[in-house]
Subunit: 344 residues, 3 copies
């Protein structure tokens, strides 16, 4: 594939500043730009790279005003990140897709699948499993009995789908993800041992969800653990039994949500964040990385801290915390002063 800067600007409905005839045959990161490549500038942190980048063409936000000369040809677009994303879509669409059925595989006699599927070698479709059309099931995927997977969904190698799971359309499940393992429920016995509470519920994943590599989502004790439309979970995330994750909520890697907690829509969890069990987190809530929600959280809050509190409060607390030695010395100084005064 080769495009001119002019063709790209036209496709993106952008304004070109520089040489429209430049030819582009690949993409690059701005700090590693090479001649013949296109890159983009969306994060202010990377501004300074634009003046030295060797990339031929740079997509920038229309609000971008260079502080000095830029050698590369610039294409101004409304939103450089989205524009780059559109170009990546174009590129990905041009790559041939896996299709067809590889052998050996295991397809139970009552399992069904739609047209244009990819079934990789060593994949397993259990009894009464139903796979929609255009679905891609990579090698070593296990689809347990009675699970249903919607159209266009991609399940990468080695993901494990326990029986009776529901997965919607246009989802992506990455390698090693486990959907529907038993919730962690045990009744303590008088002799100190634990008796397993059987977990007879399932997991329901709605449309347009992406689940990261080696993430684990437990089935409900009864009813369903719910991952709603548009949710994006990163790698190594833990979702416990009976959790509800609301629409378009996003969780960065290694986040963990304990049992029966309900999370609203459009929330954001930073990496290694957590939420305790049996709480209700509202809509549009942000929990910072490494922070933990331990109580109900109203809508629109931003929380931070090991036992998360409002971010503005946390910042004030933390500003004192990091200067605790000075505060301690100040108190000691006051103590001495007071002693002197008292002695007078």
């Amino acid at each position: 594939m080769e495009f001119t800067a002019f063709e790209i600007a036209t496709f993106l409905n952008g304004e070109i500043i520089g040489d429209p005839t430049l030819k582009i045959n690949n993409v690059s990161k701005i700090e590693e730009g090479k001649p013949g490549t296109l890159t983009f500038l969306a994060n202010l942190k990377y501004d300074h790279f634009i003046y030295d980048t060797q990339a031929s063409v740079v997509l920038v936000n229309e609000s971008f005003i260079p502080e000095k000369e830029v050698k590369a040809t610039i294409i101004k677009v409304k939103d450089a990140y989205s524009a780059m994303s559109s170009l990546l879509d174009l590129y990905v669409q041009s790559i041939p897709k896996k299709i067809g059925i590889e052998s050996p595989n295991f397809v139970a006699s009552s399992a069904k699948y739609g047209e244009n599927v990819y079934l990789g070698a060593f994949c397993y479709l259990g009894e009464n499993a139903q796979i929609g059309k255009n679905v891609k099931i990579y090698p070593h995927v296990w689809v347990g009995d009675g699970s249903i997977i919607g159209d266009n969904t991609i399940i990468f190698s080695g993901a494990k789908i326990y029986p009776e799971t529901r997965i919607g359309k246009n989802c992506i499940i990455h390698a090693g993800a486990v959907i529907g393992s038993d919730g962690f429920g045990f009744a303590p016995q008088e002799n100190g041992s634990y008796k397993k509470i059987h977990q007879i519920g399932n997991v329901v994943i709605e449309d347009d969800v992406e689940i990261g590599a080696n993430t684990a989502i437990d089935c409900a004790t009864m009813g369903s653990t719910m991952i709603k439309k548009g949710v994006k979970l990163d790698n190594l995330v833990q979702i416990a039994h009976n959790v509800v994750v609301g629409e378009n909520t996003v969780m960065a890697a290694q986040t963990g949500i304990a049992g029966s907690t309900s999370i609203g829509r459009n929330c954001t969890f930073g990496g290694q964040a957590g939420a305790t069990g049996h709480i209700k987190i509202g809509n549009n809530v942000t929990i910072a990385g490494k922070s933990g929600a331990s109580n109900n959280v109203p809508d629109n809050k931003i929380l931070m801290g090991e036992w998360a509190m409002d971010v503005s409060k946390y910042r004030r607390v933390y500003a004192v915390f990091r200067n605790l030695p000075e505060l301690f010395m100040e108190v000691n100084h006051l103590k001495k002063e007071l002693k002197k005064l008292n002695a007078e």
Copy 2:
């Protein structure tokens, strides 16, 4: 299946309040109760749901006294959670179990397995592997050479058992769990690189243990990493080489235990908790979620905090911590007052 409230009360040895002829054909969560279902109330947090639930029958603790009218039929039992658990057992026993040998599989010529096993397609039994009777090995499980698995144990899809592992009876290993990977041992070299210390030990898992999805347990450098009888590990837990986890100890998801640490029996680790290496944690110890034990811990302690301390101390520390800005202002105020006094 259909039961009357009377039949269930009789089975549970409970006292019925309401209509004994009501018919039950499913279970539900109390907040999602539907007519024809049975639910239970064990957690005080959910008390208020009992007055509005649409479930036909609710199991409650015998100590429960309603504050107003309950429409559902009530069955009073000694312990509602255990009673529900017994009913779930009954339900699970009624579901047909996987049995038999699917193809293709790989069973080494020297591997042995007992009667009534399930060997899923694409499972792998290495040389001299020994599988007890009634064991279920789901698809894509790898049982390395010389590993031994006790009767009635269930190993879900894609779990990986390294060579020479010992797993007891009545265990459940969830999908993607890795048992026996190399301990993380390297000797620093003068040029800054690291030389691998070969890990020649194994993992020993005793009876009645449950291991969560994508949990990793490393083999010992020498000797055995020990998971004792009745231990329950949640998902994404890390157990390093030469760790000992005592009987009936329970760890919530994403907990990590560093190398050579020894943990007593009946301990509880909250989610994302941790323990540093080479320490000894006693019996009946609780480490709160997100907290980390960095020193030896005596029996019966409850610890909290990033560098965990006694919970009562931590709570007092934290109460001041969250009001640090006020303390800071107080000290500044005192400083000014004192300055005034000194100026007089």
Copy 3:
């Protein structure tokens, strides 16, 4: 195998104190030493075990001076840990290695592999995959299209290698590790949903790298996520897209590195540590366990704390933190004293 203490001392170039004719046929941990075994003492914490160990021979550092009588025969070497490591090497070399090709497997027609490989049953080599010589691919490994794996590398069961990954020579990838899953990149849309940013880069792993069980390494959005020569990652580690991990850097279990962060060489991350995205961490940096780097870090720093600061500062802060109740009472006391003075 059986060796005398004298043979071992000669092999290790060590000084023998005690009976050189003692026979050794196994190794043990010092606290579990049995007659006929060899053990070692490298960690000061374990010093006291040497006086009671039942092991026949103990390797010690040449600087070790016993405080009382040691019954075991001692071999003094320059570095007991390295010496033990050399003996473990010898032992491991004596164990027969997996070699040959098991069936069934899936090797695409354009895939190539070198001599002396082990291809376990149910392994998958995609189109144009290239596997070097002496490589071991255990059962259920997925090698995506176009991936290249260098000589002598070992990939344990169920590891998943996405297309176009590069893995160097002499690497070890443990079970369940996922290399090359999509980076977590989404563009927020006006309606609150997220649009996937296609991730078209790959992962490059250089020589002598070890990757732990169930660790996840995302591919780059564009370009490569880089794991440089000699890096050692423990289990359940998360490496996000476009991260660079420098030579000989070591990360303990459950560490997470967010997107586009660059880490220098010879760094050490404790367990459950983290680094936020888009920062630069220098060489020889240590981030303590459970700590998080949230800003650029210069060379040679040791950081500690949830929002990591210099370790010496953190220790001073923490010393006050853990005595906050006392500081609070002191301030209250000063307040009362001052009130009294003002009243006079």
